[in-house]
Symmetry: C2
Subunit: 472 residues, 2 copies
C-alpha cells in the first residue's frame, strides 16, 4: 500500500473524469456482492486489496464529473484534496490550541476572511463543522441560548416551549431536524408558504408572528434561505431583516448553498444584505469547491457560542503560558474536530479568491444558458426562475397525463439520463406537487456543450419514455 | 502545488517524527504572527505558499510522535492517511446510496465487522460520526426517542422533563453537553460519585434511582464508561447491565477510548460484557489508530435510529430501481457525511485485525511497565490503578506543600516536560481535587525506553522546579 499507488489512484479519479459514469449504473445487489469481504483476521493479499480498491472506485459517485448535476455537491478542488491529505497526516484535533496551534490559527484566519467576504462586523465569531445541517444546528442552538439563558441547566422550560421559529416551505429539512434535536419539537416551527417565485411570503410571515403573539407564544427566530435546495430561490433578505428587527427576532440565514455566490460580480443583490443576519451558515464544500465536509457558522453575538457550548473541564485546561491562545472546543459540540479549515486556506492562498469568483460566475452563466435553451425548446418548459445556479424544467408530453403519471414520467427520465450516461440530474418538488427535472451547477468542469446536450436529451428521452411506457 | 510536493511533506511529517517536537514550544503570539496572511485576492507566490506550509507543519502538534502521551489522540496509521486522501479525491457524500454506493456498502461492511468484534446482536444498527462527543449525542438521542416517541413533534414535554440519566463523576463531559443540546438540561443528569478505583459506585447509583422514582422522576438511562478520560477506569459493566435490566433503564456504554481494547488478548474482562449495552460508542480514531474524525455509534434496537433521525424528503428520495439500497442520511443528523469508514476499512484489509491487536496489547504493556517503574521510584507515587493504558502519578516533594501549591507544581512539571522535549503529558483531576501527571498510550511508536525516560525525568524535573520555584 505505497503512497505512489494511492497517488496514482487519486490522480486517476481526480483527472480522468470522462472514463467514469457520473453515478454507477450497476444494481445494488451487484455492488453489495462485489465489495463484500469477510471479517479480516489477517491482511488480504495485495492483489485482492487492489482489486477491491478498483471496485470501490468504479462504484463511487463522481460529483466532480462534468455531467454530475444532481445534488449541490460540488466538484472537489484538487488543491483541497491535497490539503485534506496533509491534514490527515498531521491528524490535528482542532479542539485545543495546546495540541493544534497552527490549525487553530488557520481556522481563525479563514473565519476572518469570511467576515471580510460577507461584511460581518468584527465581533462576529465562527466555527467549522461537517455540513450545513450541523452548522445550522449550531446557529439555532446559539439562538435558543440567546432566548433561554438557563436552557443548559433547566432544559426546555415553559419559556422555551413557547419559542417559535419561522421558515419558508422551501427551506431545507435540517431546520426541522435541528428543532427536533434541540428538544423544541416541530411544534415550534411555523412553515410559511412561499410565493410564486419560491420565496417566503412576507405577509403570511407577519400574520403568523402576530397570531403567535396573540396566543401567548414567543416569536423568536426567522430563517431566511439564500439558495433553496429545490430551485435555488433567495428569500427577500433585506425585508426579512427589517421584520426581524421590528419584531425583535433572531435573524438566521441559511446560505449553505448560495451565500458564497456573493463573490460573483453579478450576484443577486439580496446576497449583499447577508450581513444583516444574527447568524449565517454557508458551505465551502459547495461554492468554494472544498472536499466534504466543510461548513461554517458565523454568529454576530460575541461570546454567545461559548455560552452555548463552552465547558470548563480540568483535562482541557489551557497551559499556564499562552494565555492568549484560543480553544475551538468551546464554540461547538464537537470535541474531536478534524482540521477542516485547511481545505479553504490552501486553495485560497494557492489560487486567490478571484479564481473562485470566476468559477462561481461560470456556474451562474451555465444555469442562465440552460434556462434560455429550455425556454426556446418546443417540448420543454422552464418551471422556476433561475436566480442562482439551479434550473427546474419539465418535459411536455403531447397529451396531458394525470399529475401522478406525469411525475412518474419525470422520475423515469432522471433515471434514464443516468443510465445512458448523459447526466446525473435530480428532481424537485414544486408547488401543486409537480415533480420536475432539476440540474444544479457547482462544478467548474461542466461545459456549455454538456448543458446543451442535457437539455436536448431530456426532451428526446422524455418523448421516448412517454411513447413507450405511458401511451398504452 | 503538485501532488509530489504535498506527498513529500506528508511523508516527512508521517515518518520523521523525532525531527519535530511533540507540541510546538513557541509562544502563541509568534505563531499567530508567522501564519498571518491578508485576505488573498490573488494567488500567493509559490515560494510564500511553501514557506507558510513549512510553518504550518512546524507549529502543528504531533500526536503521532512517540513522545506524545497527553491526550487520547492516537498516532494515525499511515494506511488510514492514504485512505483519507483517496476519500477526499472521491469526495463521496455518504448520505445517499444513489450518489455514494460503494462508500455506503463499505460503511455497512465495517459496521458488520464491529458487531462481530463486540458480539452485538444481528439487529444492531450503526453509523459513523465525527467523534465520541457526536457519537454519544446520537446514542442519547436514540434513548430519548425510545422513552418519548413524540419528542420530535412535541419537544421536551412533561414526560421528557422527568427523564433522568445516570453517569459517574469520571465520565466525559460530552454526556452533560448532549443533554444540554437535547433540551433535557443538566438537571436531567445525576452524577454518581466514583469509588476508590474511579468506577461508578453501584450503591449510590441504586439509591439515586430509588430516590428519583420516589420524587416522581423517571429513571431512563445509565451510562457506563469503558476507559474514563482521567485514569482509564472501566465501570462495572456486567453489574450496570443487571441494574439497567432490573430497573428497565437504557444502558449506554461510552467506550470512546477503551472499548476497542477488547481486541487485546489480556483485555480487562469487563470489556467482554459490552454487548449488554443498548448502545455503544467507540472511536476508531483512538484505538484503531484511524485519522481524526472517525467515531461509531451502535444501537441494538432495530429501526430506532431511523425513527430518531429519518426524514422523508422529496429531493432525497431513492431512485425507482435499487430498492434494496440503503441511505445513511436516515440514521444521523448529518446530511453532509464524509466517507469516514474507508479509514477503518482500508487499514483493516491491508493489515488484518491481528496487527491492531498487537498494537493495542503493546499500549497496555507500556502502561503496565510505566506503572511498575513509578511504583519502584522513591520520589514518585502511582495514583490510580492502571486498568487500560493510562497512568496517573505524582512527584513527591521533600516537604509537603498545600494542595494548591502542589497542584501548581504538577502543572509546571507538565509544561517543563514539553518545553524540554521530553514528552507531552497531561494532567488528571483525582479525588480530593489532587492534580496529577497523566500519560496515555494509544501510540504504536512509543517505546519502553521513552517510558523509562519520562518516568525518570518527571522526578528529576519535579525536584528542580520544587527547589527553584517552591522552596523560597
Amino acid at each position: 500500500m505505497a503512497i505512489d499507488k494511492i497517488g496514482k489512484l487519486v490522480k486517476d479519479c481526480s483527472l480522468n473524469w470522462e472514463s467514469y459514469s457520473p453515478i454507477p449504473t450497476e444494481n445494488s445487489s451487484t455492488i453489495y456482492q462485489e465489495l463484500a469481504i469477510p471479517f479480516p483476521e489477517t491482511a488480504l493479499p495485495v492483489k485482492d486489496i487492489e482489486d477491491k480498491l478498483q471496485k470501490l472506485i468504479a462504484y463511487s459517485g463522481y460529483n466532480g464529473h462534468p455531467r454530475f448535476l444532481a445534488y449541490i455537491t460540488s466538484s472537489p478542488d484538487p488543491v483541497g484534496v491535497l490539503a485534506t491529505f496533509l491534514a490527515a497526516a498531521l491528524n490535528q484535533n482542532t479542539n485545543l490550541w495546546r495540541i493544534a496551534p497552527a490549525a487553530t490559527v488557520i481556522e481563525l484566519q479563514t473565519i476572518e476572511w469570511f467576515k471580510t467576504i460577507f461584511k460581518f462586523p468584527q465581533q462576529t465569531e465562527g466555527v467549522y463543522s461537517s455540513g450545513g445541517q450541523f452548522a445550522n444546528m449550531i446557529a439555532l442552538s446559539a439562538a435558543r441560548q440567546y432566548f433561554c439563558q438557563d436552557v443548559r441547566e433547566k432544559g426546555i422550560s415553559q419559556l422555551g416551549a413557547k419559542l417559535r421559529f419561522y421558515v419558508s416551505d422551501q427551506a431545507h429539512y435540517c431546520h426541522r431536524q435541528a428543532l427536533e434535536l434541540l428538544g423544541l419539537g416541530t411544534k415550534a416551527l411555523r412553515i410559511i408558504p412561499s410565493d410564486d417565485n419560491y420565496r417566503i411570503n412576507l405577509d403570511l410571515l407577519t400574520t403568523a408572528i402576530k397570531q403567535d403573539r396573540e396566543t401567548g407564544a414567543i416569536p423568536a427566530v426567522v430563517i431566511g434561505t439564500t439558495g433553496t435546495v429545490g430551485c435555488g430561490a433567495i428569500d427577500p433578505i433585506s425585508e426579512l431583516a427589517k421584520i426581524a428587527k421590528q419584531e425583535k427576532l433572531w435573524f438566521h440565514i441559511d446560505g449553505s448553498y448560495g451565500a458564497l455566490g456573493i463573490l460573483a460580480e453579478k450576484a443577486p443583490s439580496e446576497l449583499h444584505h447577508i450581513n444583516l443576519g444574527d447568524s449565517l451558515v454557508f458551505d465551502p464544500h459547495k461554492w468554494l469547491y472544498s472536499p466534504i465536509d466543510t461548513a461554517v457558522t458565523l454568529v454576530n453575538h460575541q461570546g454567545l457560542l461559548s455560552q452555548t457550548f463552552g465547558n470548563q473541564v480540568t483535562y482541557l485546561e489551557p497551559s499556564l503560558s499562552n494565555q492568549d491562545s484560543f480553544d475551538f472546543v468551546n464554540l461547538t459540540p464537537e470535541n474531536s474536530r478534524p482540521f477542516r479549515a485547511i481545505r479553504v486556506w490552501l486553495p485560497l492562498i494557492a489560487r486567490g479568491i478571484n479564481a473562485f469568483k470566476e468559477s462561481i460566475e461560470n456556474d451562474f452563466m451555465l444555469a442562465k444558458y440552460m434556462a434560455s435553451l429550455i425556454d426556446q425548446h418546443p417540448s420543454l418548459e422552464l418551471m422556476t426562475p433561475t436566480v442562482t445556479s439551479i434550473v427546474c424544467w419539465r418535459y411536455l408530453p403531447t397529451h396531458q397525463l394525470t399529475l401522478e403519471r406525469e411525475n412518474l414520467l419525470h422520475r423515469r427520465i432522471i433515471e434514464e439520463m443516468a443510465q445512458r450516461g448523459i447526466a446525473c440530474i435530480s428532481q424537485a418538488l414544486l408547488h401543486s406537487n409537480i415533480i420536475c427535472l432539476r440540474a444544479c451547477f457547482v462544478n467548474f468542469r461542466t461545459t456549455s456543450d454538456i448543458v446543451q446536450e442535457v437539455v436536448n436529451k431530456s426532451a428526446e428521452i422524455g418523448q421516448q419514455i412517454y411513447e413507450h411506457e405511458f401511451i398504452n
